[in-house]
Symmetry: C2
Subunit: 356 residues, 2 copies
Amino acid sequence: MDNRIKEHAGIIADWSTEMKEDDKVVILAHSEAEELMIALYEEIGKHGAHPTTLYSSNEANRAYLKNFDGEFKTPKHTLTLFREADVVISIKSDVNVKAMNDVPGEVLSEYSKVRKPLSDILQDKRTCLTAFPTNAAAQLADMSLAEYKDFVWNAILRDWQDVHEKQEILKKKMDEAEEVYITGRETELTMSIKGNIGVNSDGKHNLPSGEVYTAPIPDRVDGHILFDKPLIYMGREIEDVKLKFEEGKVVKHSAGSNEELLTNILNTDEGSRKLGELGIGTNRGIKIFTRNMLFDEKMGDTIHLALGKAIKRSVGEDGEGNDSAIHMDIIKDMSKGRVEMDDETVLENGKFIWEM
Amino acid sequence: MDNRIKEHAGIIADWSTEMKEDDKVVILAHSEAEELMIALYEEIGKHGAHPTTLYSSNEANRAYLKNFDGEFKTPKHTLTLFREADVVISIKSDVNVKAMNDVPGEVLSEYSKVRKPLSDILQDKRTCLTAFPTNAAAQLADMSLAEYKDFVWNAILRDWQDVHEKQEILKKKMDEAEEVYITGRETELTMSIKGNIGVNSDGKHNLPSGEVYTAPIPDRVDGHILFDKPLIYMGREIEDVKLKFEEGKVVKHSAGSNEELLTNILNTDEGSRKLGELGIGTNRGIKIFTRNMLFDEKMGDTIHLALGKAIKRSVGEDGEGNDSAIHMDIIKDMSKGRVEMDDETVLENGKFIWEM
């Protein structure tokens, strides 16, 4: 086994999820990630914890959704499994990222609604979303598998304590700031983040990470923005997303491709037209856009906004967070552009406040 | 996809588990069986039910058990998942049947004890244990994969209604009989089955099936028996098992190989030295011993006894069934030998009562 897989499993157990004796652990993985699963079972054994793995197959999910004849419901057996779990480790390991492409958007949207209680529960758990390098992901990133393995593990096997310390500067700005002003290509957007919390994403819930994020006040977003990186939704690319906000709500939208899918996403529920997250990527180790949100949104020259649900831990007691069945990140290149917080520039033309 | 996979999934959904709308379904499978899993997801979708699949990897379980440092406990998250399920489909699909070979027997035995509540729950569910043809299973059966596929699907894709009707004759004998007398090579065994129920295993809980079984009264087994087919335990073969019973309990045992493992199995708990099942195979479609209990115990020329827990549905209100964490089937060739029930011969030299 590639020694980097063992290191990866070690970081997940000791840093990301702080695994301890008697923890009930759930892993979600496709068989492409079986080596990481085996390395994790070794760690789980060493920690005296108890594992169960759910098999994620997009090809099977496609067969299910394409043939579904009934009423979608939150599956109570899966819900109780998550409810009883202490640690949930989700490993992105697609064998074909396009496997869900011919499932109608409205079916995916209906299905995601009944899955909402599952993702709600996870917000109270020690979770880690990570990735295992597959040929499918390598191909999507325009790389060979060997090159992609280097890319993935270079991003993951880092000194996360050091990342944590650097990101504290940005986290504190977010804690204190009330207003955020974003300008860039075809973009002029203001939002309030008053009372909400800057979260230092340092390899705990996302691995890799390298991001600081907070939650916009749902009704306090105004202006327009162009996202120059494509939104990837269930393996489909929605390019050049443009959104116009009034009092927090998307009142106008367009896209260069798959605009209908964007419309479906926005129509999911009451909260899917409002923002749940403002994130700033800080990971200088990720230099290439690979069409994988777990990596892309951490790039140092980008920010991202998420339509839908706010991450619970970014919502302060005096603040407010959006609610929705979805959480859909969209990335904007900031190598040209500026982010100000309460009249202080924290990011300009790709440079952070501590790099200026 | 091989059309036999779709037929296989159809039998599981419609005949074996009688799947219906809103059923909460759990599948257990390794990725080798992904095609059957996909076909099942299509069926589950058509029935308007809700699937979750647990990933069974012996290689991962080995890594877990070899490195375990703590106290084994029944994993509550997995327990609640099973408790909330209506249907549980378990697909044997090993990539390497020897993957657990270097896990110490006492560790396997300790681990199986804490898993007992999981198997107890399954007795009240609509369950189906089936198999998907893999290279590992083909190799174990001394066959190519193509030949083994024919073997597996010839055994599975049958007219189960017809099997059901033929087996009713034997089921009724078991219902009525009080004493069973078994003779054969190095074998002379008497047991009581008074008050217990003959179960017509017709492709519901086991697929393939073709077996009628009941539960011996735990303290009413006396004599000795030689099992001429090897006991397969977690991929290990225990050959030529000989057991001597007094008042239901194994008081003497020996084996031609792996005798220590047999000793560990017998020492699992109070009930592991007593019998939980007497089964008679009737499946004339299975002609070859393939070292796979799901198939072997259904062979028309065999009977089998199980050490450990009685299957709940074979225990009558006026009868009695054994309890244990284990249920370990061992097969005896009956091409030479005789089974009598209350002085009536039901099987002699490989011929059933309806074939004499």
